[in-house]
């Protein structure tokens, strides 16, 4: 099983530990990742210029299709953005023709065969919880984790087809494979506030604060993300008593026996190496 790995723009500089961790984990689980020089998923232009957004997204789809691969991304915003583009292209054949005409200048074409998936989907649906359990070599003991789903993966569910939009389970199931317990919390399906970060920081921070408090109130030690933007958002604030953000690659990776060099726990703004102390001795 091989996928074209779509890191998204934020990973190389802002969160390399996430990209590296995900690739190492997938490698251990016999899921191959191929690097292609992708462009931006289009998210950065989605609110301001539809044509630019569609062209940028579609170019990536065409690049993966050229290699006969589906796209796997660890970022939920890239995931949502590419999924929306696919839905638009499927819904509007005329738009697809026009996009393909633009792509033809780069000798590319998107026929519609390449699909896009998120790393959690691959772990849950393709690898499977049981296969992961076999690779877990050391379990967590007593650590409580709040699974933060991420809007752009969950919704709109008819486009993203990620999980049940009102009662999703896959993230919790994946967390519990590691021995950690996944807490139930009020705001687990809500937005982290990231999309407003650069435009209305007050709104963005208030939304985030509500989430962090909600996770804290549910007794979570960590709030777990599987999205570059969500993690960056939770890392952008002084935590105080709130639970620290942690990347899912770091939770699963530690339980699979991976080390700091693979997972980069110390690279998180809130040094997450304390998570290592929660492993069973």
């Amino acid at each position: 099983m091989k996928f074209a790995f779509f890191p998204g723009c934020k990973i190389p500089y802002h969160m390399p530990q996430y990209g590296d961790g995900v690739k190492t984990i997938l490698d251990r689980l016999d899921v191959g990742t191929i690097d292609i020089e992708f462009s931006c998923c289009g998210y950065s232009a989605r609110s301001i210029n539809f044509t630019a957004y569609m062209f940028s997204a579609a170019k990536n789809l065409a690049l993966a299709e050229e290699q006969g691969l589906d796209i796997l991304t660890p970022c939920k915003c890239c995931f949502g953005s590419l999924k929306h583009a696919i839905a638009m292209l499927e819904e509007k054949p005329e738009l697809k023709d026009e996009i393909n005409e633009m792509l033809s200048e780069d000798d590319l074409e998107y026929k519609g065969t390449t699909q896009v998936t998120h790393v959690l989907k691959v772990l849950h649906d393709v690898v499977g919880v049981d296969a992961i359990r076999e690779k877990v070599t050391r379990q967590f003991d007593g650590v409580k984790i709040a699974a933060h789903y991420g809007c752009h993966a969950l919704r709109p569910s008819n486009v993203t087809q990620f999980d049940d939009p009102v009662d999703p389970v896959i993230f919790e199931k994946l967390i519990e494979v590691t021995g950690a317990s996944a807490v139930a919390w009020d705001k687990r399906l809500e937005c982290c506030g990231s999309p407003m970060k650069d435009h209305n920081a007050d709104v963005s921070d208030m939304i985030m604060d509500k989430k962090l408090k909600s996770a804290g109130a549910a007794g979570a030690d960590y709030i777990c993300t599987a999205c570059t933007y969500c993690q960056m958002q939770f890392e952008s604030t002084e935590l105080g008593d709130n639970p620290a953000p942690i990347l899912f690659s770091q939770v699963l990776g530690l339980s699979m026996g991976l080390e700091e060099k693979d997972l980069g726990l110390t690279l998180n703004r809130n040094d997450a190496s304390s998570l290592m102390d929660c492993l069973q001795k």
Partner: protein, 552 residues
Amino acid sequence: MIFTVSLYLSLTIFALGLLYKFWSWVSLKIGPEAEDAPVGLRASAAMGAFITSLFSVNLVAIVKALVLDVLLQINILKKDFLSWLMHMLIFHGFMLLLLMHAMDELVSEKIFDGYYSTLNPYFFLRNVFGAMVIIGVGIAIFRRLKLKPLNQVSGKRDVIAIVILAVIMGSGFLLDSAKIVSQNVFDQMVVDYAGFEDKEESIPLMHYWAKDFGVVFEDFDEFDPEMIEEGKEMHVDFACADCHSKPDSLFISWPLAKVMKPVANSLNKADAPNILYYIHIFACFLGLAYLPCSKFFHIIATPITLIIKRCAAPRPNPVLKANRRALEIDGCTHCGNCSVHCSVRPIFEVLGNSNILPSEKLAATGDYAKNKEKADYDAGMFSEGSFICTECNRCTDVCTAGLNLQDIWLAVKKDLVRNNDQAPFEKLKEKAAGAVTPKDAVLKPGKPGLEKHLMLSSQADTFSRCFECQTCTNVCPAVGLYDNPGEKLGLMPHQIMHSLALGLKDDATGAAMVWDCLTCYMCQEMCPQGVKVTDVLYELKNMANQKIEEPV
């Protein structure tokens, strides 16, 4: 006289240009670190860093940078062989010509005993070095014409650079050949060096030189074997041979001289060698004077950026960061590699704003730093390019000049925010609220748009099923932030849907709700009637842009 005056004139302009550049490296303000650092502090920090580097382990890194990065250019080799070959040919060919030929009195004559420019191997080597540059220039032209992404970023400065090089090289070769065939040059040499009393005496030498050295004489075109033999002896006796190798080894100048042969007499009469000589030296002097302002300035700036790349501390003194940014604007070779690989390149291809591409944005960064305080300076396009950047670091990764572009982009965004030079999103928001006039338009697309496919907000179908249950508003996290959301957001999501159903698109688009939407899709997911609420809000933002693109 003319030579000396123009040499010193161009050297003076060169030196002034150099000073101006040094000044800009410690005065140009890019990023918050530069705001509070006076020029004196920045200059002393630069000197301090330079001196301490020379007396520390950094010396090893400096030598490494000079050998591996500057002389061998392994950074370019790793990225692209053809680009490396081009650059090596031009750089080394030109440097060797500069040292051996242009500065022969200072270099070659001091190092090589018996150096004479028309003696082999120097005579021949000049052709070799010149050919290297010509081939390099040929590759440069080919790449910039043939490779689409590179072609898109090739501008005036690249053309001027290539033209100057081509004129210097072309005139040099033509001069070589014109001198070979020129009777005037031969006559003058005979007067200067042979000391014949009568012009008749030189006839055997003329025969010999016509045959073996390619001189074209007006008076005769048939060779007399006896004369040639006699001339050959004179060639040695009168010491011509001490300074002149046969030009037949010049694989470019010699064939070129043969081509000139039919018109040699006319060229001679037109004083071609002299004219070509002046074209050649004036092109060189022009290049020298223009160098600090040209793309060739990277010959001086880029070795420094490459050294800094190897020596820079992980957390450098903020003042040095400010200096480095200013220096790096000159360190750019405009090779275009960053723009070829730029993540948001497809967005550039639609919008056509060259400020999106790193190589172009870097030059614009210098302009912005110089002009940002001026009231009438329009930073719109630069701001748009800067904020569309996703900070993916790829340009920094692929930069063969070792520039820390990422650091510059992050610093520039801070400057733009501080100066209130808005990002496109904010501009659209103000436009939607009626505050921006069309002349501030940004996001003018370079390609015909696909926005005609955005039809949700204008189709009755979208809203006909809405029964105003207000679920969208009740689940909206932005609405949920406020006790009195109407005051902060203008219209609630359900009111926006209702306004659109009534055709009040402008009112809807002006609502802060549209622009504070987190795009979490909660409303759309929860709508019992399947109204695409979030997609409609996205659409309104895009349509606000459409209105800016087509000012009334």
